[in-house]
């Protein structure tokens, strides 16, 4: 998820292109926000202001939507986002110990980003791959049957 930080002109251009491609309809708001989130790594204030003008939707509404959905973020995130499934099936399959290990190794609590901007640690609800729990996703890579012992090895794959 390593994104170069885009600002000012770039963000405006991105938002304009997206609105042109997907349309001004309010129904397109969430798809557009998803694209912005993918491109920038999060939804910046600049992007919300620009979007509000182009789509004629109040910034308050856009902000309320952007903060509602788990896959959208209004805060910058680390270069790698680790999402750990905290639902019951993964919990029963040994997820509790993996989660404790992750917190210890990264030195982060749920929702925190490391000072060097490398990691953001999040819990997530069920990812639908419960047959191989405990499950976690780093960026777009899925890891199943994770044990606490594997945690340092898996993390060391990410620079």
């Amino acid at each position: 998820m390593s994104k170069e930080v885009k600002q000012g002109q770039d963000v405006q251009k991105l938002v304009r292109t997206l609105v042109e491609d997907l349309g001004h309809e309010k129904a397109e708001l969430i798809p557009i926000l998803q694209e912005i989130n993918d491109e920038l790594g999060y939804i910046s204030d600049d992007a919300i202001t620009e979007l509000s003008q182009l789509m004629n939707i109040p910034t308050s509404h856009i902000y309320s939507v952007a903060t509602f959905y788990r896959m959208l973020s209004t805060e910058p995130r680390g270069r790698h986002v680790l999402q750990f499934c905290e639902s019951a099936p993964c919990h029963v399959a040994g997820g509790r110990l993996v989660w404790q290990k992750l917190q210890r190794v990264l030195g982060l609590e749920n929702g925190e980003t490391s000072p060097d901007d490398k990691w953001t640690l999040l819990t997530t609800s069920c990812l639908g791959v419960c047959g191989v729990g405990p499950v976690m996703i780093i960026d777009n890579d899925l890891y199943g049957n994770v044990t606490p012992e594997q945690v340092p090895d898996i993390l060391s794959n990410y620079k």
């Binding site: 309809e25 309010k26 129904a27 397109e28 708001l29 969430i30 798809p31 926000l33 998803q34 509404h61 309320s64 939507v65 509602f68 959905y69 788990r70 896959m71 959208l72 905290e86 639902s87 019951a88 099936p89 919990h91 029963v92 399959a93 819990t123 997530t124 609800s125 069920c126 990812l127 639908g128 791959v129 419960c130 047959g131 191989v132 729990g133 777009n140 890579d141 899925l142 199943g144 049957n145």
Partner: protein
Amino acid sequence: MKATRSMVLVSGDPESLNRGALDVFSTLQRELANFGLDEEISLTMVSDIHKSGSNPLVLVYPDAVIYGQVSPADVHQIVEEHLYKGRVVAEKQVPPYDLSGKIAWLSSRKGTLPAENRIVLKNVGLIDPESIDDYIINEGYEAIGTILKEMTPEDTINTIKNSGLRGRGGAGFPTGLKWQFVKGAKGDKKYVICNADESEPGTFKDRLVLEGDPHAIIEAMMIAAFAVGADEGYVYIRGEYGLAISRMKKAIQQAHDYGLLGKNIFGTDFSFDIHIHAGAGAYICGEETALIESIEGNRGEPRTRPPYPTTAGLWQKPTLVNNVETLANIPAIIRNGAEWYKSIGTPSSPGTKVYTILGNVNVTGLIEVPMGITLREVISIYAKGMKNGANFKLAQTGGSSGSIIPASLQDTPMDFDSFNKAGVSLGSGALLIASDEVCVLDLAKVLLNFFREESCGKCNPCRIGIKRAFEILTNISEGVATLHDLEDLNMLSDQLYNLSNCGLGQTAGSPLHDILAHFRAEVEAHVKLKVCPAGVCPMSGRRAYQTV
């Protein structure tokens, strides 16, 4: 599709793809051509076959041999030895009993397990989900053809009503009746929505259908649209299901190319088109009015009902919302008739149910069996017993919004009415099987934490009640609660049920009720003796939250 001597399937679920299934597939293509076998052996990438840890898999039919953890380097040997010379490569073989999910059905073909009854998952794992021709050759789009040629919307609705099909999203509402409401609703514009926002923890049946047989959903939505008089449809797929979204997109494009979607389908007056809306991560959007709000570009907060979506749904127009599994039954019912469907399952809940089996059992995965099977049967037959011979303590059904079912109910037939009578709920079909090692209090804490995170916050009983219940549970797990707290939990459970605006809050209290009804002694041990019998809870004596 040509007649072939053997069929080779490569697993294409997300995990397999991660582990290089595409490389295996292309190497197989090359090697088959090298041995001149590409004419007589078909090669297909199929969706999830679901074997934990052994992906990617290569399956050879009709021999029903499964190779696991196949790398491109193994392909030459498999092709030369097995497909060319006919000798199974034993060292790469994975035993079927070791495999889960899909494999219960594979094993049944080999006669080692009782047969499942596959309607919803008929094609899943057998056909190439990215090929419309594969679907068509397997009776695909036959049902919609029959309907457009020979049936009226009334006939169609009557067939679904007579079949007794009930919604598989969890509530069990009669599907035919819902269709009739939408058809009867006034309005020049109507919508059909497929609810594929599958977020119940432990449930992944809808994902398998979407990834493995997307055209079945398109056909079912066409039938529904014809019956209720809609010309536009949405598939609301949760955003985390990337592969399902791309397969569905591809299927819709193919259906367009074949003239199955668009204007005046098959030269009739019937026009229909489908859009995909990807969710952005919110459990609550599985609730149908929240889902509709989300499509409209709003926060996914459930509406106040009535009016129900059947009269005022998407953009305030009459809207039919059906779950993926419900829809996947429709083409088969039209093809084979209502009487055939009623002959499967129990009288009040006909048909099959797809269950995901999870937890402390030997085989986890997915089965499709007739309604009315018991938990004991599921555990002993399909799950191959408890792991390490442990005792069966409880099953948690239907993701988070189901029930905690004690061992004493393991002989109750699993259908909507029998479970209602026993005061428990079938939910979405996840069966989380837990042994003695699991603490009920810890489990309830995890479930309530889930609801606490996922509550949309619109109504107070849900937002505040769940948080308070979680705090009390945490205090109990720390050994600092009083018996009075248990009464508070009971009260919160009732208030959540009675006062919450939507299903999330209404069911959030059921774990509280269930643990107090069935496992009171274990909960009281935490309170009175400051002991967690399963040895799971921290019991630190540290007060985490203040009691009022």
